[in-house]
Symmetry: C2
Subunit: 214 residues, 2 copies
C-alpha cells in the first residue's frame, strides 16, 4: 500500500486555535486551556500516556488506539519539541516526554538550528533544517514502508497543508473558544476544495473531523 | 496490557438479525440482503478484501482498519466457516476466503465434528469441540499476548455473551429490516446492565454500536 502522510489526534479549539500565546516550559499551551483540548483523549483506554488500567473503548478510543497503527516515523516542528527558540544554548533539553517518549519511531524535528541526533527509549530524534518535501523524503525512507505522522504544532501542519503533502487528517475540535494564539483555520470548510470531510460528534463533547484527499 | 476478547465489525439489521434463513454455499446470508449489511465496510480504504486502491478514510474506516490491530487469534463458529452441517463428508472445504484468508492468525472453529488443522496463506485453522471458556483458553495461548476476536456468527457471539466472556464489541447496525433469521438481540439495550454503549451514526447510514464492560 502507498505510504500516507497522516495527521492524527490533532486538537483544536472551536475557533481553530491549537495553543495560546506565551508558551513556556511550564505552560506548553501558553495562556490557553490545554486540558479542555485533550481531556477526551486522556479518558480513553489507549491514550499513549495512560499508566493505570481502565478507560473508555468507544469512538474516542478508536482515535487514540490508531496512534501507532502503521506509523513508521513522525515529523514535528521545533515548537512541539520544546519551548526554546533560536540557537541552542546546550543540548540538555530532550523533549517533554521523559525517558520513554510515546513515538517509538524515528522523529524528525524541523529547525533552523540542527543539533546531534539522540535516542531516548524506543525513539530517536533527528534535527533537520529542511523544507517539508525534503523532510518527508527522509521520513519516508526511515518509515520502512509505513506511514508518516505529521505531529504538529500548528505551524508545521500549516506548512505541510500549504505544500499539499497531507493525505489524511484527524482533528478533534473541542467545545471551547480560545480567541487568540496559533490558529490552524477559521473554518474547516477552507479545506473542502482538496479534502473529503466527515464531522462526527463524540459523546465526550469533541467533534472529530476526518479529512482525506479528494 | 490484559488480553481482551473482542467482537469487531459485526453486522446486523436494524431488527437485530445477522443472517436470514436457508444459508447455503451460494447464499452465505440465506434469504437476507447481505450487501445491505456490509456495503459500508466495502467502501472503506482498509476493508480487508479490498484489491483496488481508493476507498474512504472516515469513521467507517477507523472500524475496518482496527480489524487486525493487536488481534492474535480468532474464534468462530462452524456456521461461519462453511455451509455444511453434521459430520464432514470430506475435507475439501477450506472456508469461503480463497488462498489468503483475511485472518492471518490462528483461527479456532467450534464444531461438534473436529477435523485436522490446516494452513492457508498466513492463517491456520484448528477445529475444537469445546466450551466457549475452553476455546478461549486455547486462543489466548495462541494469541501471543494479543487480543482474541470472536468472529461470529450470531450463535457463537451469543454463546460468548451468555458466558460473559466478551470485553468489547463493535456492531454496525444497518438501516434495513430482515424480519427473520438468526437474531442477536431485539434491542441493544438488553446489554446495558453489563456494558457501556455508544451509538455513533455514520454518514454511510449504519449506526456503529461500541460496547465495553462496565
Amino acid at each position: 500500500m502507498k505510504q500516507l502522510v497522516r495527521v492524527q489526534n490533532f486538537m483544536l479549539s472551536s475557533d481553530g486555535y491549537g495553543a495560546g500565546e506565551g508558551q513556556s516550559l511550564d505552560r506548553p499551551f501558553g495562556d490557553a486551556d490545554g486540558p479542555a483540548l485533550f481531556s477526551w483523549a486522556g479518558a480513553t483506554a489507549h491514550w499513549p500516556n495512560r499508566t493505570d488500567p481502565g478507560g473508555t473503548y468507544g469512538l474516542d478510543d478508536y482515535c487514540t488506539r490508531d496512534y501507532r497503527n502503521n506509523i513508521g516515523a513522525e515529523i514535528m516542528g521545533r515548537n512541539k519539541f520544546g519551548p526554546q527558540r533560536g540557537p541552542w544554548e546546550n543540548y540538555d533539553w530532550q523533549g517533554w516526554w521523559g525517558d520513554e517518549p510515546p513515538f517509538r519511531t524515528p522523529v524528525f524535528v524541523l529547525t533552523h538550528h540542527p543539533r546531534p541526533s539522540f535516542t531516548l527509549g524506543a525513539t530517536t530524534f533527528h534535527f533537520l533544517d529542511a523544507s517539508p518535501k525534503e523532510a518527508l523524503a527522509r521520513a519516508f525512507d526511515a518509515a520502512d514502508g509505513m506511514d508518516v505522522r505529521i505531529g504538529g504544532g500548528i505551524e508545521t501542519v500549516r506548512q505541510f497543508l500549504d505544500a499539499d503533502l497531507i493525505d489524511t487528517m484527524h482533528v478533534a475540535v473541542a467545545s471551547v473558544e480560545f480567541g487568540r494564539g496559533e490558529r490552524l483555520w477559521v473554518s474547516a470548510d477552507e479545506l473542502l476544495d482538496r479534502f473529503h470531510l466527515e464531522r462526527i460528534p463524540s459523546p465526550s463533547g469533541v467533534v472529530h473531523h476526518f479529512f482525506w484527499r479528494r
